[in-house]
């Protein structure tokens, strides 16, 4: 099994977001970056499949130098090698540009399985999985919560409104991971030490054979026009799943003990 996992580096979900002076990007000072949580689930799924069926897990990410720490994290978790798609021309790529970069890098390797998180936290676009599948002319199943492989066939359960859809098909396939698919592991200390010796290969626009007009700002069909913080407001509290008597008692308790107004 040759398994690819595409990961994105995102600000830690606890980050207090600040908008940069240009009004259309994030101020990155003091921000810690992590592997997007849904991508962690994709990595875990790839590792589990490899552990059962053998083969290799290769991590891919597009971004500047900073992204290499996230690739190192995935290597520490157990991925075999990583590919860092890094070129000044890639900056400000939109989902279309990013999918072109990833597809160009994935194509020559002929993977059996290409995994993504269902969306990256922060931008929450959820576009890359389906776009890459389209560019590679592969089938795609999104928002997968259960996956079984048998020979060169897969069965994937995906969440739909109030139900689960079961999709079957043949490999190769592009899947995007949803919470519930698995519980990601912690890197072991030995894994972290071993990661140092694993390869992170850097590929530039020239090596991918892409035209600069296809990626970055030049190739973008969408761009961030303006970023605004939502107006500040204090969170309300909703008492759910109780009968009215219980809810009233709880409300009185909260007014007394938390709000301390009675």
């Amino acid at each position: 099994m040759k398994i690819a996992v595409c990961i994105k580096q995102v600000p830690d979900t606890e980050t207090k977001v600040r908008i940069a002076a240009d009004g259309r990007s994030l101020d990155e000072t003091g921000v810690t970056f992590v592997v997007s949580p849904y991508d962690e689930i994709a990595v875990e799924e790839g590792l589990r499949i490899k552990e059962k069926r053998g083969g290799e897990v290769v991590a891919f990410s597009v971004g500047d130098e900073r992204v290499s720490t996230s690739l190192r994290t995935v290597l520490a978790l157990g991925a075999d090698r990583a590919v860092h798609l890094k070129d000044p021309a890639f900056e400000n790529s939109d989902a279309l540009g990013l999918s072109r970069i990833l597809a160009a890098a994935l194509k020559p390797e002929a993977f059996d399985l290409i995994l993504f998180g269902k969306q990256a936290v922060g931008t929450d676009r959820g576009q890359l999985g389906p776009r890459v599948a389209e560019l590679l002319d592969l089938p795609h199943v999104g928002v997968v919560v259960r996956l079984a492989l048998e020979g060169d066939r897969f069965t994937a359960h995906r969440e739909v409104e109030g139900a689960q859809e079961v999709m079957e098909g043949g490999l190769p396939v592009v899947l995007t991971a949803q919470k519930g698919l698995n519980e990601p592991r912690y890197a072991s200390l030995k894994g972290i030490l071993a990661a140092k010796k694993k390869e992170i290969k850097v590929l530039t626009i020239a090596e991918l054979g892409l035209n600069p007009s296809m990626v970055g700002s030049a190739g973008a069909r969408t761009r961030w026009e303006k970023l605004e913080l939502p107006p500040a407001r204090t969170a309300g509290k909703i008492l759910k799943g109780m009968d009215p008597g219980e809810a009233a008692r709880e409300l009185v308790r909260l007014l007394r003990e938390e709000a301390k107004v009675i």
Binding site: R72, Y186, A187, S188, L189, I192, L193
Partner: protein
């Protein structure tokens, strides 16, 4: 549980390698997600969280600084960071890992025969065998040289008699490293649980390190094979070498306790309103927070430089003493100040500070009290021993 953001006022993070940071962050996440949600209950009930042994082993935290035998072979700074993160969770949990790695696996690794190493170290790294370290006795704590526990050789057996007290992991352990006198000289012996004549009993009524097991060990004509002596452990200095190892970890560990307490106190001070403004808005309270932040920053730098010296095999035991002494003092003061800031909430286990406050009393005392480390550094500076 939300991710923990530790104070890093001097951008010390930048002095760590990428690998050291990754190790630190991994243990930090583990503590937030797996330790903190369950530790108060264990502390309240006075039980050790045994369910954490398998994941701690899987992560590779047991004997993580040792080379070979299934151990991770980490450098001293990475090891220290692990201790810091574990103690950010609870001093009892860090004690468990310190004892297993620094006080039991380390002496077997350093002073054991090849056979002993093969037999015990991989199983201990996997968390299948738990160890304890018996040096202290009811009447000899700061002065272990006075110990009464002794062995005599009878045929192919050593026969052990005596009592050890305050032994972390005592009743939990499958294997005890016991220090006893053979012909008047202190030596190390491996005693397995279940050996006839070996009994143990927990110390009751602790208000400190409640989520850790602390026990007395009894040896009454306890016969062990001669092959259970640690062949290369000659004299008390072997036991002290173990302590030096564990004390180094404590110097880092207590910074974790201080970071937890500082974080909680700062958050509380910013949100709790008194006299119409946040607690943090009053000069008296800012002074406490500033003291904590300053001393924690100094303590972190002390640890890091000590770690770099250790990496270069240049750290002296006296330098380790200074760090243990200073950082335990700082953590103890931080716990007190943090508790003050939390007012009445500081005395309930809904907040962490009370637990750290109680725990740190043990850490301040074990592995050489603050006084004893002061005397060690004092002797180093003056050339005059002032112990007796």
């Amino acid at each position: 549980m939300k991710p923990f953001k530790a104070l890093d006022y001097y951008a010390i993070d930048g002095l760590l390698s990428e690998e050291e940071r990754l190790i630190r962050d991994t243990i930090r996440a583990f503590v937030s997600e797996q330790v903190l949600p369950r530790i108060e209950k264990h502390f309240r009930e006075g039980t050790f969280p045994k369910e954490l042994i398998p994941p701690l082993a899987e992560l590779g935290t047991l004997g993580s600084s040792l080379q070979g035998y299934g151990c991770a072979g980490l450098g001293p700074v990475a090891y220290g960071l692990i201790m810091q993160e574990l103690e950010r969770g609870d001093s009892g949990l860090r004690s468990f890992v310190s004892v297993q790695g620094g006080l039991v696996m380390y002496p077997i690794h350093a002073f054991g025969s090849e056979e002993q190493k093969e037999k015990w170290l991989p199983a201990m790294a996997r968390g299948e065998v738990i160890g304890c370290f018996g040096l202290t006795e009811p009447d000899f704590g700061s002065n272990p040289a006075g110990m009464l526990t002794h062995v005599v050789k009878k045929g192919d057996k050593y026969v052990l008699n005596g009592t050890k007290a305050w032994i972390t992991n005592g009743t939990l352990a499958d294997l005890a490293v016991v220090w006893a006198k053979l012909d008047g000289e202190v030596q190390g012996f491996l005693v397995e649980k279940g050996t006839p004549g070996f009994g143990s009993k927990d110390h009751e009524g602790k208000f400190s390190l409640r989520a850790s097991v602390t026990s007395e060990l009894f040896f009454q004509d306890c016969a062990i094979p001669v092959s259970n002596r640690l062949p290369k452990a000659e004299g008390l200095k072997a036991a002290l070498a173990c302590l030096n190892q564990a004390r180094y970890g404590i110097a880092w560990g207590v910074m974790g306790s201080a970071l937890a307490v500082f974080d909680e106190a700062l958050e509380y001070a910013k949100t709790r309103i008194v006299f119409g403004k946040p607690v943090a808005g009053f000069q008296l309270q800012q002074r406490k927070l500033v003291w904590m932040a300053t001393e924690i920053t100094k303590g972190q730098l002390l640890c890091l430089q000590l770690g770099r010296l250790k990496e270069a095999a240049k750290a002296t035991p006296q330098q380790v003493s200074m760090a243990k002494m200073n950082n335990c003092y700082v953590a103890r003061e931080c716990a007190k100040l943090g508790r003050e800031i939390l007012g009445a909430n500081g005395i309930t286990d809904e907040y962490q500070v009370g637990r750290h406050l109680c725990n740190i009393e043990s850490v301040y005392t074990y592995e050489g009290t603050h006084d004893v480390h002061t005397l060690i550094v004092g002797q180093d500076l003056t050339g005059i021993a002032a112990y007796s």
